[in-house]
Point group: C2
Chain length 628, copies 2
Amino acid sequence: MSTLLAAPTKKPRTTMSKARKPTTSPPSRKTKTRRSKATAQTLAGQQREISVSEFFAKNRHLLGFDNPRKALLTTIKEAVDNAMDACEEGGILPDIFVQVLQLGETRFKVTVRDNGPGIVKQQIEHIFGKLLYGSKFHRLKMSRGQQGIGISAAGMYGLMTTGKPVLIISKPSKKKPAHEMRIKMDTSKNRAEVVSDEVHQEDDKLFPQGTGTQVEIELEGKYLKGRQSIDEYLEQTAIANPHAHITYVTPGNETRTFPRSVDELPDEPKEIKPHPKGIELGTLIQMLERTEAAKVGAFLQNDFCRVGPSKAKEICQTAGMTNMTWVKNVGHREAEALYKAIQEVKLTAPPTDCLVPIGSKALLAGLLKGVKAEFYTASTRPPAVYRGNPFQIEVGLAFGGELPAQETARVIRFANRVPLLYQQAECCSFKAVLDASWKNYELSQPKGSLPLGPLVVMIHMASVWVPFTSESKEAIADYDEIRKEMKLALQECGRKLGTYLRRRKRMQRESERRSIFERYIREVAKSCEKITGADAKKLYEALLRQAERRTAQADQQLDDEGRILNETARLAKDEQVVIVPAQQPDPANNGNEIGESLFENPPKPQRRKTTKRSRKKPRSPRRTAKRK
Amino acid sequence: MSTLLAAPTKKPRTTMSKARKPTTSPPSRKTKTRRSKATAQTLAGQQREISVSEFFAKNRHLLGFDNPRKALLTTIKEAVDNAMDACEEGGILPDIFVQVLQLGETRFKVTVRDNGPGIVKQQIEHIFGKLLYGSKFHRLKMSRGQQGIGISAAGMYGLMTTGKPVLIISKPSKKKPAHEMRIKMDTSKNRAEVVSDEVHQEDDKLFPQGTGTQVEIELEGKYLKGRQSIDEYLEQTAIANPHAHITYVTPGNETRTFPRSVDELPDEPKEIKPHPKGIELGTLIQMLERTEAAKVGAFLQNDFCRVGPSKAKEICQTAGMTNMTWVKNVGHREAEALYKAIQEVKLTAPPTDCLVPIGSKALLAGLLKGVKAEFYTASTRPPAVYRGNPFQIEVGLAFGGELPAQETARVIRFANRVPLLYQQAECCSFKAVLDASWKNYELSQPKGSLPLGPLVVMIHMASVWVPFTSESKEAIADYDEIRKEMKLALQECGRKLGTYLRRRKRMQRESERRSIFERYIREVAKSCEKITGADAKKLYEALLRQAERRTAQADQQLDDEGRILNETARLAKDEQVVIVPAQQPDPANNGNEIGESLFENPPKPQRRKTTKRSRKKPRSPRRTAKRK
């Protein structure tokens, strides 16, 4: 059997290694003699360092450049995210200009311009010509970019596919003219190569507000509309960033504008230090090696958040040292003791003013703008912590209206206000939506699938460090703490939706009853007149009043809900729910109540029968009446 | 509305940025004054380089260290993959020893030892103490490792979680003693820090064959059995590597051995040069900048595969230059011309002796070893090419037997003989299985899901460069060319399964008929005797012969198929299908044929009725007979 197993059965129709021998030959020894036997020395000769940009150039799908379509989107995404971050850090309301120019069938030129604070000349080559270089990685601060890869990767992709350098024009100061640079990345060294470096007075025209940056990248791409398109990305960006004004010139040379709907910047997220409970032993040891503090006490107070003098003392004592112990005397054993102490000592959770959620109102506004539904609700969770990193979850729901009733729900995902368009299945938020038991909220949900029905779910995670599943930042890694918060937020919204759907069902039943009732009152009145000679008109009115009283719920409850509001008033009330009168047959209502009786108290079977028949032949009610 | 949108509705129960002002204040200007307004200069001050190991330390989930359980598996995976590669490169049949020692509730020590060629002292610190360092990245050669990240990342994770350095013992030469090193990674520099470096004579005992390497990593982990466990990884590794002998000592201190079932190494995969059609313009330009060749002709012949003198000439001419053109005179325009020329000129596909598939036989053997099924088939596709990289797809199917009939199929994935246990949903192979229309092969398949039934699908991709979706190498990126090949292989196997299932249905129907027939022959014979006085015994035998002839298919076809084989003979024939007699009721057969008649030609309804009744009351047949 063994010899038989050795060779592939069906010899691929191609030349195989010449060294190949018929499998009947005595095995192992032959094997050894016939192949180039590498030794430790020969292997050592082949060992080489790999530059990080070589690595990502070969693995560029990790950065979101899997295919031409995605590459085009990613390039714009990275440029726009940077532009927004820059503006906000500069305290400037973002004014973003995006242009996609089609040069050839598969060749595009992407231009993104902002009115941010600009970039000083010396930094440009590093920021755009070097992977893993940036201002955000080493800080714990909520921002869109965090890795220092994005924009330089886009430039690298452009260079690889077209050989063209990146063009950067930046004006960091109102007084000085803009400078213009062409930059190429040398992937073997992960270093920038400056192709040209000039000052053009006329470039200043690009920046009417005095400062700003423009990036121009030429790349192989593919332009498509629909899901996961540039358009969708910009629409969703506008939803999550109502304070930004975005102008988009499409390859078809149409201009789309997403106007600013808030004239105020979101609060500035604060930068924080790591929380002691969030770090691991190894990291602690590293921090001890690198700290500027000389004494352990100082180290704990300076390098961490939420550690004051008293807490520092407490930790040191629990670890069997004093806060005057010299850091350089802390060996591995002491470090472990310190680590254990940190776990034991009670510490306040990390500060959360480092988080700036979009806010339920903005979420609702966004959904109202973007989705034609009937019921809207949103909820913002209080901040929580994963691995010492504060984060905050927000969820918005939109139901009914013009949303497709037969499809599964649609999930719209955001991380630090950036739309996530790819790898949904891998995303923690998606899994959270699967987890939430939607059956409790009057929605059907096939096992292991999204709920069915006219539903849009919007999830936002704000954090000082979003744990993405890949450098392309398309999906949020599945941490228990994060998924839990997402589920809680979804449930908050789900419950409201459930209540609404149940109430709506009741209301529909009621109005069903009323309409059926009204259909026959006149008949009944007439017949009574014929029989008893009572005044039909009076009788009719009496019955009608009855009917209205009986089925009062139908409208009364809607008034309770009190939320048939006109466009402008919608957000006036500080509520997290918005209801728009349904325009179309309700998909959630299976309408099986129609056959029910006209009266409050459960009818006798025979009575029901007649009503049933009655719907078929309108004349029957008289008979029913007679029988009375 | 705008002001309303600015602030989150529900103020999180936590301190918010002190700078916060009531939203009634006049917007933008106030915003600006109240926040630390960053300028280009201040921003520049924050820009910093990020070391690749800092990056991956913070994003270690990208490397497969998301959680303690996965971390433990990944560590073993990386170590074993390296060990196997080393042995094969050294032309040595792998003898791998794996031990997982539990030190504390969540602390483990992983030891992996091989009998490979060993590592020279100077290389150890780089290989284990530096990310992005290795011998495989810059070569186009089929191997398990390819990025130079894996094992050093495992060491880094160990260091981060336990503060303990990695221990490496290696013996690169039979003559010299083994050397022992302790290594720590300095993530801020992505450089190794040698903690200790000694020579212990007694270490030699670890390497009876004279050479080898042992790695010891202490880390925070979690040990669980079942799916995605170390055990599953090693089982599948054994299936795909019948030439390896693996010994595994579990945390429970049991020893599991996976013996070698082939005494011959797989053919040695050849290293190849990039194929001209596989590279992009930018890459071509880079290669031109870096080539050692002086003339374009030489450049094309030396730096690429499949370009001989004549082809080189042809390309140069098409590009409007000669193969004597100096490389240094090739500017951007010339490069583009050259690139276009390459696309136009016909070139043979890249060589494929760089690929060493497992082979259908080995696949079948593996499945037979690992899965208790009833029907087995496998197929190996001829090599194909994606982005200039040759690759080859193999598929194996196992159906029926003891496999769970009510669940969806199980997919077992391999890349270059390494089992892939995570991120199934993202994997090209998984998508290919979804794509294949299993309904054609007699299996039910809910929309967008795996086929239902007792089915195991095994997919292997062999390539000089497997495009993984992440550094953790858990899923294959979704290239059209790859998915297509996978679908074709699946279909080849699917068709065989379909034929088998259809034939089996027919056979069952036949034996149904026979058994029903036989049930009544005696009765019929007797009654005939009573009526006509014919000899019952004779009649009975005659009828019996008839019955057997009529329903001959039942056994005859099985004999045609001729594949009821005993364990040893199973693989004797060079076939890609193996059938084991079913032990249990067939799940694919819905058994609705039972009610059918006893005879070839469709029966009259009344006759069928009687047969139906007859099954209830055994005495009825006589009546039927009488009526005749």
